[in-house]
């Protein structure tokens, strides 16, 4: 690697339920408020207690938004943490924590170990439960924060707790901060972090939060879903905020009910979505086909995880692109959006509702576990760029729901809105929505439905180039890999190489073929085993991208990993 990646990478590792989230939650927000750029992502096992889970927190003077393998500072919160992260620990890694959690390896020379007795300090304060906040105080001290800022934030974080608990947590933070002072001689890391006052005013939120906020901005007022990792945070977010925004949130008995509810809601004039993962969406495919036949809008959020079947419930993958693309019996159009940044997640989710309403087609938001659970600071969202576009038609008493038009789009009436009766049928139907077996009408209706895809091609989201449109080598990716490949290019120092990221994969942008033939070499980077986007590109452009960097272990790509693979391909 030609250039050191800016900033510091801290990893916390412990059992589920041990308070990693507390340390992460306090530290990242405190640092952001002090003007540091922060990024956090977690990998966790599918269980409520125990196991080994880890969170990476990156802190930098520059904006950062990608997963790194490198660990500068590791804080083990239980035994087994070092083994769990073995492949990511180097001689430069400093392990800070209890001797008993590190064991014999402390003296093995694989990493630098410095004892930090969080538990003893916490016990002296009153309970070992405060050890997490001792760790927060220590990290804040090492990172050069002001003690009063640390105490202020800890006070804010525990503001709903009793005075005793709050006081003890502040004492814990102070003790940790003091510990950092004693350790600075030993912890020789050049943090060299410069706060940026603009960052203080940034928002700090997960991909899941951004999808939820985008849904509200898109006018979503009905959500029906069945809980399934890793999509549940979106359902939880909308349930938590739903009543403030007039959103009906219903946990259905199964995904089949969920999507039929959402389609029924759109019929009655709501703007509805479902949020699920691959296995749950598999149950929705019959309903998806119903939306296709009824020409009912629907927004489907799929947070992908590795399959087949139950797969790895809490891990990440980009392997349901083809599922979303081909799901549902029969032929009908659809649109697939796949945000790569927090901002895209917000704006594209909002846009999904407008597109679904306008073209009367299913619109997908494809994310994944990595994307949903990852967060970093970003500028706020500009609501003046968002508009809820409703496409509900005024109708007369001779209204025909499926009137044939050149665009394929028939004006969509809603019962109770104006005079016409709104008749929809899952059977093949005539222009009035009544069941028919007239095979000439059948052919016209198929053509009409498919014509909507041609109409929707008028507003395909442009793929984004980074750093520019002049390149010998072009890396193509989609969805959550955007920031990872972007940072890879920033550190690779290859002026001959650019990135092309798609946040809409279907319909595929028509200029794709022009962009690809300009390159001497094209490389696809995606998180699945068979190169699903590469196959889609071949289908629509005839270009067979043979260089593919694929990952399907259940973990996200890391920057170093993509860099190494690219170096190998490009030599």
């Amino acid at each position: 690697m030609s250039q050191k990646i800016d900033g510091i990478s801290i990893v916390l590792c412990g059992q589920a339920g041990m308070g990693i989230q507390t340390v992460e939650g306090i530290l990242t927000r405190m640092l952001k408020l002090a003007g540091y750029n922060v990024f956090a992502t977690k990998e966790y096992m599918s269980r409520v207690r125990g196991g080994n889970n880890s969170t990476q927190i990156r802190v930098s003077s520059q904006p950062i938004s990608a997963f790194l393998n490198r660990i500068d500072l590791l804080i083990p919160l239980n035994k087994g943490a070092v083994q769990h992260l073995h492949d990511r620990i180097s001689k430069e890694t400093i392990v800070l924590g209890e001797t008993e959690f590190v064991g014999d390896e402390a003296t093995g020379g694989h990493f630098k170990f410095i004892e930090a007795p969080f538990i003893k300090i916490a016990t002296d304060i009153g309970d070992k439960v405060y050890s997490n906040v001792v760790a927060v105080g220590m990290l804040a001290g090492l990172l050069g924060m002001e003690l009063n800022n640390v105490c202020d934030y800890v006070r804010h974080f525990f503001s709903t707790k009793s005075a005793d608990v709050m006081q003890n947590n502040i004492r814990a933070a102070e003790a940790g901060f003091q510990l950092a002072g004693n350790l600075t001689g030993q912890v020789k890391i050049d943090f060299n972090l410069k706060p940026d006052s603009a960052v203080k005013n940034h928002i700090l939120l997960t991909g899941g939060d951004a999808v939820g906020l985008g849904a509200i901005a898109g006018g979503c007022n009905f959500v029906s879903s069945y809980p399934m990792s890793p999509s549940t945070p979106v359902l939880v977010f909308l349930a938590k905020n739903g009543r403030d925004f007039g959103i009906i949130t219903e946990q259905a008995e199964d995904e089949i009910a969920a999507i039929n509810m959402a389609i029924g809601a759109w019929y009655a004039g709501a703007r509805a979505m479902v949020t699920t993962s691959g296995g749950g969406f598999a149950l929705m495919t019959e309903g998806l086909s119903l939306a296709g036949m009824l020409e009912m809008p629907i927004v489907v959020h799929i947070a992908q995880r590795p399959g087949p079947a139950t797969g790895l419930p809490t891990r990440t993958e980009q392997a349901d692109l083809e599922l979303a693309l081909y799901a549902g019996h029969g032929e009908f159009p659809r649109i697939l959006l796949c945000p790569g940044t927090i901002e895209q997640a917000f704006y594209l989710t909002a846009r999904a509702f407008n597109l679904a309403d306008k073209y009367q087609v299913p619109v997908f938001i494809l994310t994944d576990q990595y994307f949903i659970d990852t967060y970093y600071n970003t500028k706020g969202f500009d609501l003046s760029n968002v508009k809820v576009e409703k496409h509900i038609a005024k109708t007369a008493s001779d209204y025909k729901r499926y009137e044939l038009t050149t665009s394929g789009i028939s004006p969509r009436g809603v019962p109770g809105f104006s005079r016409g009766l709104v008749c929809v049928d899952s059977d093949e139907h005539d222009t009035e929505g009544h069941i028919t077996e007239d095979l000439q009408i059948r052919t016209k209706m198929v053509n009409k439905r498919l014509q909507k895809l041609e109409s929707a091609k008028a507003e395909i989201v442009e793929p984004e180039f980074y750093p520019n449109r002049r390149y010998d080598n072009l890396i193509v990716c989609w969805g959550s890999t955007y920031n990872i490949v972007k940072e890879t290019l920033a550190v690779l120092d290859r002026p001959d190489t650019s990135l092309l990221h798609y946040s809409q994969v279907y319909p595929l942008h028509p200029q794709t073929v022009d962009y690809l033939i300009q390159a001497k070499r094209v490389i696809v980077v995606e998180g699945n085993a068979t190169g699903q986007f590469a196959k889609l590109i071949k289908l629509h452009t005839g270009i067979d991208v043979k260089d593919r960097i694929l990952k399907y272990s259940g973990l996200s790509f890391a920057v170093e990993e993509v860099a190494e693979a690219l170096n190998k391909v490009l030599k």
Binding site: R29, L204, I248, E250, E253, K390, H434
Partner: protein, 289 residues
């Protein structure tokens, strides 16, 4: 109101001559006319099967969805616009077989909709296989040795789940069926009306005559507010009671419980997101989650 407002004129109807569905269609038109429910104020939601074709023979708003899936769609339609009358109507295979899970959970959810089930104890559209309500020993091309699965008892299940209104009718008695339907539609909350009907083509066991001989009306002395008594009547087997088994008028509806209509009665299609409030929510991410 004149029941002819629902007439479709000359149409091709896919039901067999003599089918009980004609009777139900006719009774439903009279019921709605007497309740002054206009085609514009009614949404019929159905699934798939011969019974589920009823909205096509009827002038009104309708949502003819998937096999077994009428109830989730009907629930959401009512929730999105509570001022419109919603009837979910299909056959016994659709509601109790393919849609069995939705049947159970829709009762728990208690939307203010009326669930009418044409119960002829056989599959018609797929040509004569057993339905969940087929009687033991009923032979079909698939159940060649006769049905050996315990028949599904929708009345008992609905009472067990404390459904707000549970009734059974027989289309051989149009007048009583109409009276039961009127009460079901007026009931606030989920109401079930299971209607016995003969299938003249595929069910030679449960004929019009069989239904006449094997049914009787609950006495006037039956107290529909007594859940235990209602359940006892629901599990009677030799002769099957007709009438209103059970009423619980004290249940809040799904639309009440979703929490968005207390101050604002407007249907969802009239609403816009509150961007000022959304900006406040976004700004919260500057400091906390």
């Amino acid at each position: 109101m004149d029941e002819h407002v629902f007439d479709m004129g000359e149409i091709d109807i896919a039901w067999c001559p003599g089918c009980g569905d004609y009777g139900i269609l006719n009774v439903l038109k009279h019921t709605l006319a007497e309740l002054n429910i206009t085609p514009e104020n009614l949404i019929m939601v159905s699934g798939i099967g011969q019974a589920a074709k009823i909205p096509h023979y009827f002038k009104t708003h309708f949502f003819n969805g998937l096999h077994g899936r009428a109830l989730p769609a009907a629930t959401a339609i009512k929730a999105a616009n509570p001022s419109i009358t919603v009837i979910a109507e299909s056959g016994d295979g659709d509601m109790y077989g393919e849609g069995g899970n939705h049947f159970v959970h829709t009762i728990r959810r208690n939307p203010n909709i009326t669930n009418i089930v044409h119960n002829n104890m056989v599959y018609g559209l797929t040509k004569g296989q057993a339905s969940p309500t087929s009687q033991l020993g009923f032979k079909t091309p698939v159940q060649v040795a006769g049905v050996f699965l315990e028949p599904f008892n929708p009345i008992a299940i609905a009472i067990a789940l404390d459904a707000g209104f549970v009734a059974r009718a027989f289309i051989g008695d149009a007048e009583q069926t109409k009276e039961i339907l009127k009460k079901a539609i007026v009931h606030k909350g989920y109401s079930l009306v299971d209607i016995f009907q003969p299938c003249v083509t595929f069910n030679k066991m449960n004929t019009r005559q069989w239904f006449k001989e094997h049914t009787y009306y609950l006495e006037d002395s039956h107290d529909p507010h007594d859940r235990i008594a209602a359940f006892k009547r629901a599990v009677e087997e030799d002769k099957l009671p007709l009438g209103i088994f059970y009423i619980n008028p004290n249940k809040s509806t799904f639309e009440d419980n979703v929490g968005i209509y207390h101050q604002d009665k407007r249907p969802l299609f009239e609403r816009e997101p509150d961007f000022i409030r959304l900006q406040t929510l976004i700004d919260k991410f500057k400091t906390t989650d």
